[in-house]
Symmetry: C2
Subunit: 268 residues, 2 copies
């Protein structure tokens, strides 16, 4: 079984990391469309064009299953990708929303994501269909590689403060009582230690990486797809911009060494 995993950059590697745990006996193709990132501030039409050309690349390389490990691409272009693909396609929004719905006790979930993801209301719609009320908030992403920068902490503080999950209003009694913060961008898991430090302890953090991997594992079991019985998973990494940068930054998201990245170019 050859699984294609696609993201605009590095965040999708958090999904790949979970996939390697629950579906270790597969071959993986990971594509980061780093030359055209970020997707999160671009229009639906442009995101769809980029996501479809990226998906086509993975299909041409033999992917038998596609994981759209990018919230923006899932929120804005899942239908277009499915139309372009003849194999099963799984995005991260539905599994993430399901995980949040399973955890919340108050029925109120806060979601942070890119401007494009939030504008699409993909999370709010999915959560609403499960009886959960969601408040979505666009959080600006500072450029890749600034994960440890003091700016990033300031951005996080301001976003959480606007959601009244941090700062003077965080502990004020309110009617709406969210108890889950859903990380609607695969970048955010790297900020979990920081977010955890800022958030009240009654707020659970949920990201879609683990739940997406579980959904993929279940689909493969249900369809009884044969998976190659390799000792260790085989992974090929592709990027559209600097392979050195991909390796350096990517290792932080994947949590393990990346030996080789192949530079590719995609059609417009």
């Amino acid at each position: 079984m050859k699984i294609g995993v696609f993201d605009s950059g590095f965040g999708g590697l958090t999904v790949l990391r979970e996939l390697l745990r629950v579906v270790p006996d597969a071959t993986y193709l990971y594509l980061g469309d780093t030359a055209r990132l970020p997707y999160g501030s671009k229009s639906a039409a442009t995101v769809a064009r980029y996501a479809v050309s990226s998906s086509r690349f993975l299909l041409e390389r033999g992917a038998q299953f596609l994981v759209i490990a990018c919230n923006t691409a899932t929120a804005l272009a899942l239908d277009e990708i499915k139309q372009a693909a003849s194999v099963p396609v799984i995005g991260v929004v539905e599994p993430g929303a399901s995980a949040a719905a399973a955890i919340t006790r108050t029925g109120n979930v806060d979601v942070i994501g890119t401007p494009a993801t939030v504008a699409s209301h993909a999370y709010a719609k999915s959560l609403q269909s499960k009886g959960i009320e969601a408040v979505e908030k666009a959080c600006p992403l500072v450029e890749e590689g600034w994960i440890d920068h003091p700016v990033t902490e300031q951005v996080a503080r301001i976003c959480l403060e606007e959601l009244q999950l941090f700062g003077p209003l965080a502990h004020v009694e309110r009617e709406r009582r969210p108890d889950v913060l859903l990380l609607g961008c695969t970048h955010y898991p790297l900020l979990e230690p920081l977010l955890r430090r800022l958030l009240p302890k009654e707020i659970s953090l949920v990201d879609s990486a683990a739940s997406t991997a579980q959904v993929v594992a279940k689909e493969l079991r249900d369809s009884e797809q044969p998976t190659s019985k390799l000792g260790t998973p085989e992974i090929r990494f592709f990027a559209t911009d600097s392979v050195e940068k991909f390796r350096a930054l990517g290792e932080r998201f994947l949590g393990k060494r990346i030996e080789k990245v192949e530079l590719i170019s995609l059609p417009e």
Copy 2:
């Protein structure tokens, strides 16, 4: 005279605004490669590929003069663009450095720019050739459209603090005494009121928009290029992503109404 002005996004409109003042009797083609922005965190090879394809578009539309109104593209790809163009090409780095060199009295200039611009040391090299010592600092850009967001002020505070131009160390006596902050990204002019508020009053702010426009005007005079004697300049705007967003954001950079933007796609 048809002048092509190119930027990865909207920042170059600050250069166009100045051009309209000093060379009003020309026709302008402005291209914002908004689908692929930002350039500032990408590799030199990718920036060069994007900048050359953008420049080719302007040349095909009849541009007789090219203004690279993007610091990153100028710093990383000016030579490649010149090679691909048969018309005069002016970037923003040299005019910006000249303007800073003309103003500094201490001979010390601080430069803020994108990670890619700073890594290229284009400004430090240019300033050094004029006998000026420069300290360069990469400042993360938050996503387009967050100009008024509190995050942007925090980013600015942190960057200026790291340069010791703001905060507890800003007024400590030091051997090196920069008196100019050179805005090495065409986005920053929109932040001038904010930066001015944070900076000690003895620090001058310099951006390359006005000086680049002056250099273009001089080149046109020197080459005695005929300029069309129109009453008002004719401008056509092109963008590779959402034209609605271009119009909304672009008007803030240009300082005037943008009636029409044409959506185009560029080859990889």
